[in-house]
Amino acid sequence: MVAKILIVAEHAGGKLNPSTAKCVACASSIDGAQIDIAVFATDGAAVAAEAAKIQGVKTVLTVNNAANAEPLAAVLAPQVVAVAANYTHVFGPSTTFGKDLMPRVAALLGVGQLSDIAAVEGAYKFRRPVYAGNAIITVEAPQDKKLVATVRTASFQAAAQGGSAGVEVANVSASLPSHTRFVSRSAAATGRPDLQTAARVVSGGRALGSADNFKIIFSLADKIGAAVGASRAAVDAGYAANELQVGQTGKIIAPELYVAVGISGAIQHLTGIKDARTIVAINKDTEAPIFEVADIGLVGDLFTVLPELERVAG
C-alpha cells in the first residue's frame, strides 16, 4: 500500500514556516510516499507557491476561509479532517502550532497520535524520544488506521528547494465553531534569527543573574549573527522571555553552533540541544553537567569571557 501523506503547513504573515519542509523531509523517508501539503489561510496563494517549491511534494492544496486568519486549533481541525479523508497519514510539525492542532485532528478522526517522530523505520514504524530524551522508543502504529503524527523538527534537515508541485484550491465544507476567538499576539520584533531554525544560537542561564546582565548574551549573539536562547531557570527568573526557552518543555533545536553560557545543563535542557552540531559551554563550575555534552568547554567567569569573546569574534 502506498503511503499517501498530508502535511499541514505552518505559516504566519504570508510566509511558510521552515517546519513544513522538515515535515516533508520526514515524510520523504517513507518509501514510495506520495506527499501533499495543505495550506489553511484566508488567502493561501503566496504560502502555497512557497510550499510548491519544496522537493518531494506532489500537490499543494489551499483551503481559503476568512475564519483561517489565525491558526486556531478548534477552527482548523474540522477542515484538516475533511481534507484528510483521502490520506493514510496526516503529519504536522512538533511546534506549538502542530502540538495544539494535531491531537484535536486525531481525536476527531477517532485515532491516537504519534508525537515527535525523530526517525522513520517504515510507513508505520518510527522512533521517538520519551522521558525528556532519556529513552528513545521504537513504536509501531496500526496499519488499518489513519496515522496522525507530529514531526520532531530538530531531527530532520529541511527538504531541498527546487520542486514544482501543482497547486489546487480545495473546497472544504465543515461546520466551524465560533467558541474560540483570537485576541492578540505579542512577539518581540528582534531582527535576530529565529531560535527554532537559526544556524547559531547563544543561550544564557541562571548564572547571568539579572535581565540586565542577560544583555551580554544578546550582544554576543548579534556580533556572530546568532539567535538567543535561555534555560528554564533564566526564563523563570525573568531574565529572558518565555519564547526563548530551550529544552524538554520549550524549544527543541538543532543549530550548527550552540553556545551555552552560564547554563549548568539540567537533563531537561540537554534534551533540547542534543542534536546541535557543535556545543560550546562556558561555565565557572568545573562540575557542571553541560561539560559532559559540550564539544568545546571553557571553565571561566562568563562576565570576563564573554566581553573578550565578543572582541575577537565575528
Binding site: 518581540a188 519564547e243 568545546i296
Partner: protein, 262 residues
Amino acid sequence: MIDEAFGGTVLSKILVGLKRVVDYNVRVRVKPDGTGVVTDGVKMSINPFDEIALEEALRIKEQGATTEITEVIVVSIGPADTQQQLRTGLAMGADRAILVQTDSPVEPLAAAKIFLQLVEKESPQIVLLGKQGIDDDNNQTGQMLAALWDRPQATFASKVELEGGKAKVTREVDAGLETIEVDLPAVFTTDLRLNEPRYVKLPDIMKAKKKPLDTVVIDSLGVDTAPQFKTTKYEPPAARSKGIMVKDVAELVAALKQKGLA
C-alpha cells in the same frame, strides 16, 4: 444549573487531571533488556504541569464571588498507588478525588475518552490539565478531550482570566505570547509560567485523609482502552562523543576555527 445573576452561567466545578509520573528529579534509565525504563524503587510524583493545573484551579476557586467556582475535583487514571498523588492533591486544597483504577498503561485518546465520561457526569465549567506528561511527553490529552467534548481548548496557558461565561487565556507559543478568548466550558492546558504551586502543610495532609476519594473501576466506564500503538523497543539516547576543554578565549576561538565555525 443556570444562574441568571452570573452572566447566565454558574461556574460550578473545575476538573483537574493529575498524572502519576516518575519524579522530575529522577534521572530515568532504560532497562538493560530494552523492555522499558527502570521504575522499581523510583520516586513517583504528580506530573509538574498537573500540579500547576491544580494550583490554578485552587486560585480560581479562592477568588470566590468573582468566579463562583465551588468545587475542585482531582482525577487520575492509574494503579491503586495513584491514591498517594490524589491525596497530595487533596492536601493542596482539592475538595474530592476520583481514581479511575487500572494497572495497564492508558494512551492519551483513551484517557481523553475517560475524562469525557467524567465530564458528562460532573458537568464542570473548566477542565485543567498539564500540557504534557513528563514521562511520555505526548502533549495530547487536553486537545483530544476538547475535540471529543466539542468545546474550546486553550493550550500552553500562562495566564487565565475569567469573566462571565468566558475566559481570556494567554498562551505560550513559539512566536511569543498569544491571547485567545473562549466560551466556557472549555479545556485549558498549563505551561510552566502559569503559577508556582503551593507547598502542602502538615495539617492539610491530615485534613486530606478525611476528604472523599472515590475509586472507579476502569471497565465500568465502557471505554476501549486497548492500546493502538505498540512500543517494541526502549533504547538509551546516543551519547555525544567526548569533547575538549580549552583554557582561554584564544584557544576557544582556535577550536571553533578548526571546525569552520569562526
